[in-house]
């Protein structure tokens, strides 16, 4: 599960959970790999991110590095910054661990890089 994906997941599919974001990460295995850098793609994805949630997630697994916690104006043309964002968004992967709902504490397993967001019938918010 890349941190970009994590930034898109919410647990408010659970009855009684209002926001369910961001999910806390308890990682037992994190893998860092090289992914081709595409600055335009990164620049276009950043507005779709919840930036503080991204930084929080990265920090919680020791992968924040020196990624700024605030977006500077004109970040789209700052290649150094985009490279750092690229690294955090696409090169860090949680392979094994759990995602934890911030409101209910319900745990979702991450196995082999795939987060399991399936609920039991009784848990589903109608």
């Amino acid at each position: 599960m890349k941190l970009l994906t994590h930034n898109m997941l919410t647990s408010n599919i659970i009855k009684g959970v209002t926001k369910g974001f961001p999910l806390k990460i308890a990682a037992s295995e994190v893998k860092v790999s090289e992914v081709d850098f595409n600055p335009e793609f990164i620049a276009r994805m950043i507005p779709k991110m919840e930036w503080s949630a991204l930084c929080q997630a990265a920090e919680s697994i020791g992968q924040l590095g020196d990624l700024p916690k605030e977006l500077a104006p004109e970040y789209e043309s700052d290649e150094e910054f985009l490279k750092k964002a690229h690294h955090v968004l696409l090169e860090v992967e949680v392979k094994e661990g759990e995602l934890i709902c911030p409101e209910s504490g319900r745990k979702f397993t991450i196995r082999n890089g795939i987060p399991n967001m399936l609920l039991n019938e009784e848990e589903v918010a109608k």
Partner: protein, 214 residues
């Protein structure tokens, strides 16, 4: 012409767990290829395939559109997601799998962000009791009119799509195209029939939905 993705890493053992690409899969890929120019010119950032199965369609989309987009894949069958990721790897594209029901757990954060939404649903007309498993039957069991799974997604499509977003859907004649068109029209989505194909007893169609007033 784009070649079909390499699925040589898959064998009959895998197809006990996941849907083996068939005419419906190939029709959807052909439809996407037909629309390649318009897909590319919209410069999509986020693509989501619901019910990715073997991952062949998302892989094909990613091969055509390239790494300028983020490819999310969901399925209710955990085996399908492992296989999807492998299919992506086999074809040197990055696919991002999430085990979830339809777009659940992603829908909130992806609201109005999905540029390309794909769904080759379980469309076979079956008894209702056959719907709702997470094994291979989930790949085809569609219940009454083959619509029981699709009907859970349709009301959410307009919320998922970005302003220029496009939704490609595979159906068969039994799924009642006119009814689907009417439902989507209420959500200000207009339908085009991209491609048709007859495969044995199945009359397949690929439908495309876009916003009436983007």
């Amino acid at each position: 012409m784009f070649p079909t993705p390499d699925i040589s890493h898959l064998n009959s053992a895998d197809y006990q767990y996941v849907y083996e690409p068939a005419e419906d899969s190939f029709l959807l890929m052909d439809a996407l290829e037909k629309d390649l120019q318009s897909l590319k010119s919209a410069r999509p950032s986020v693509c989501l395939e619901i019910g990715c199965g073997s991952g062949i369609v998302s892989t094909f989309l990613a091969q055509m559109l390239g790494p300028d987009s983020f490819y999310l894949c969901t399925d209710i069958n955990p085996k399908a997601l492992e296989i999807t990721r492998n299919t992506g790897q086999q074809n040197s594209v990055l696919l991002n799998p999430v085990l979830t029901d339809l777009a659940s757990s992603l829908a909130d954060r992806l609201e109005n962000k999905i540029d390309v939404l794909l769904f080759n649903p379980p469309y076979v007309v079956t008894p209702s009791e056959e719907v709702g498993s997470s094994g291979i039957e989930a790949a085809w069991a569609g219940g009454v009119n083959g619509r029981e799974v699709l009907d859970r997604l349709l009301p959410d499509v307009h919320r998922l799509l970005s302003s220029q977003g496009v939704f490609y859907l595979v159906i068969i004649k039994e799924n009642k195209q006119g009814d689907i068109e009417a439902i989507m029209s209420k959500y200000q989505l207009e339908m085009t029939v991209v491609m048709l194909r007859r495969s044995g007893p199945e009359h397949l169609s690929v439908l495309k939905f876009t916003r009436k007033n983007p």
